[in-house]
């Protein structure tokens, strides 16, 4: 039952003349299997509007009882309705499609895909040292505990959603300049010490999702990113008082390839009436 609504073209002079509400009477035409209903009415802007509705008339062979019921006269609030559906109560909804959920086979396929990608990538880019950007784990960096590392790490360290308060402050997106930096976070601090090694997170697998809607919850976020792979850590920035989402989140994946996949898929993805912005997690300085 497609509805076609368009305005009747009339000059302003005619409109003035017709003021007082002389609308043409509605008409009902039967034409080779179609019923065409034409109505005139004023819309919200007080403009005359012609509404044409086309119904397809179908004949069906049904049992006697059903045919008899079809002939029943309407009652209650529908007593005054004409034959056929009343547009006030019956509306053709938008097209919807059934989403068939892929079963195990396809899931495996997806996994294979990411594995292949990983293989094709080789060692390059999968492991990246945060100290010297070399192709090795940070903990195995030959420059560990040298000046080079000392100079580089703090920049990289900032976006890390480190434990406790400092990271929270970073998340809140406050200006970084004159902020108090605890000694442990300062350049040359003892954060390269073995005790801190545990708390370091490999931010090469971290992605930043922004333009999330206010109502996003941790569970929603998890649901959103879970399909891409194993997740090490989720951080959804929330307002302290209202506990509403502040619009962005960081997700640490286990593998960089999966993070890359998440970025390519989710960037520009429409989620909850907003279009997501997804990229590698960068130090706040670069974001600003």
């Amino acid at each position: 039952m497609p509805d076609i609504t368009h305005e009747v073209k009339s000059s302003w002079a005619d409109e003035v003349e017709e003021e007082g509400g002389a609308l043409p009477p509605p008409s009902e035409v039967y034409e080779n299997g179609f019923k065409i209903l034409t109505e005139y009415k004023y819309n919200d802007d007080n403009k005359k509007v012609k509404v044409v509705r086309t119904y397809k008339i179908e004949r069906r062979i049904v049992s006697k009882t059903i045919a008899a019921r079809k002939a029943w006269s309407k009652f209650g609030d529908s007593a005054d309705d004409r034959p056929g559906p009343n547009p006030a109560t019956t509306v053709g909804a938008e097209d919807v499609f059934m989403q068939f959920i892929s079963n195990k086979e396809e899931e495996n396929k997806v996994e294979d895909d990411s594995l292949d990608k990983l293989k094709s990538m080789g060692d390059k880019g999968v492991v990246k040292c945060r100290n010297c950007n070399g192709d090795h784990w940070t903990s195995k960096c030959p420059y560990k505990d040298t000046v080079l590392a000392g100079g580089k790490v703090p920049d990289d360290k900032k976006p890390l959603l480190g434990p406790g308060v400092p990271s929270a402050i970073t998340e809140l997106g406050k200006p970084q300049g004159s902020k108090y930096v605890p000694p442990s976070m300062r350049d040359g601090g003892n954060k390269r010490g073995d005790s801190m090694q545990m708390q370091r997170r490999d931010d090469t697998t971290a992605i930043r999702i922004s333009n999330l809607s206010e109502s996003t919850s941790d569970a929603d976020l998890e649901e959103l990113v879970k399909p891409f792979g194993l997740i090490q850590k989720l951080y959804l920035a929330k307002d302290k008082q209202t506990n509403l989402c502040k619009g962005f989140a960081y997700v640490h994946f286990k593998f960089r390839a999966e993070a890359a996949k998440a970025i390519s898929t989710l960037n520009g993805y429409g989620y909850d009436h907003l279009i997501l912005n997804v990229d590698w997690s960068k130090p706040p300085a670069q974001n600003n």
Partner: protein, 326 residues
């Protein structure tokens, strides 16, 4: 598919039901008028005017001559289907939560809420010559429910038994003649919202607030299958032609405003009857689905939602072409 949206109710839909042939669809909502629609084109046949409160339960008899509705205005009413006129009504002590015609439609079973100082009670009534002078003293059988209230009801085979689902997840079978409890199991962890038979009545599916729907044997109450979701299930229905179960639900209506209307929450979810695995979803409502029924021919199904709309979804060929791989 292009569903038909029926907008005849001002408030949340509580229950929808097809008649036996499936050409009419009855609907009840928290407003006061049950409606009846032609299921084929969504045309409204009429409204049943008279109730003064939310209508919680409806039923229609085998040959679509009489329609039954129970409401929060403490009445159970019997209507003439063709004219929409009230034939008779029955005053109760508290709101009528569930009601059902027996297969012969001579008898009616209904249950009342535990409220206003009255306890939950189940009544079996002969409604062949119902009129205004009828009271619940005329009940053939009156069973006080001491435990949690009844939230779903079904007639068992040959109108000999009554199956009740309770607020705490209990399922009981009663002898309709003597009113004795014959069998009782703890089927769910939380309230049972809906119970529906399969086509031949040998099994029924329960929908519960504990996020699951379960399939039980109607005779022995043996648990056959469990369908798990992440949200409360408000209604579940079994396809009459395929091994499919459709679950409808979503978050509690109470919590909807505090969270987002994200996709996936208010979908109809299709499970395989035997393998308990979800294989498809269908979007539609903007609120939780409160009631969901298959058309008796299995080629379409309807949902009634908290958003006040009823949607008649007629399946595309793709649904019938889909084969569950195992």
């Amino acid at each position: 598919m292009k569903p038909l949206m029926l907008h005849g109710h001002e408030r949340a839909i509580t229950k929808i039901k097809y008649n036996r042939e499936g050409d009419l669809l009855f609907s009840a909502s928290k407003d006061k008028q049950p409606n009846v629609w032609y299921s084929l084109n969504g045309e409204r046949l009429g409204t049943f005017d008279g109730h003064n409160g939310s209508v919680w339960c409806i039923d229609v008899n085998w040959d679509t001559t009489r329609f039954l509705s129970g409401s929060g205005d403490n009445t159970l009413r019997v209507w003439d289907c063709q004219t929409g006129k009230e034939i008779g009504q029955l005053k109760t002590n508290s709101s009528v939560r569930t009601c059902s015609f027996s297969y012969s439609s001579d008898l009616v079973v209904y249950s009342t809420d535990k409220a206003l100082g009255y306890q939950c009670e189940m009544f079996i009534m002969d409604v062949r010559d119902v009129d205004a002078g009828m009271s619940q003293e005329d009940a053939i059988c009156r069973i006080p429910i001491t435990g949690p209230r009844i939230s779903a009801i079904l007639w068992g085979a040959l109108d000999e038994t009554i199956i009740t689902g309770h607020e705490d997840g209990e399922i009981n079978i009663w002898d309709a003649r003597t009113g004795k409890k014959m069998n009782s199991i703890k089927g769910h962890k939380s309230q049972i919202n809906d119970m529906q038979f399969n086509k031949d009545g040998t099994m029924f599916v329960t929908a519960s607030k504990d996020n699951t729907a379960k399939l039980f044997d109607s005779e022995s109450l043996m648990l056959l299958k469990t369908y798990k979701t992440e949200r409360p299930v408000n209604s579940a229905t079994i396809s009459p032609i395929l091994d499919h179960v459709v679950l409808g639900g979503g978050q509690d209506a109470m919590d909807v405003t505090t969270t987002s209307a994200r996709q996936g929450k208010f979908d109809s979810r299709f499970f395989h009857l035997v393998f308990e695995e979800e294989f498809a979803r269908l979007k539609g409502h903007f609120g939780p689905i409160n009631s969901l029924v298959f058309h008796p021919n299995g080629r379409s199904y309807s949902t009634g939602g908290e958003d006040g709309y009823i949607r008649i979804n007629t399946f595309d060929q793709s649904y019938f072409d889909f084969h569950f791989e195992y």
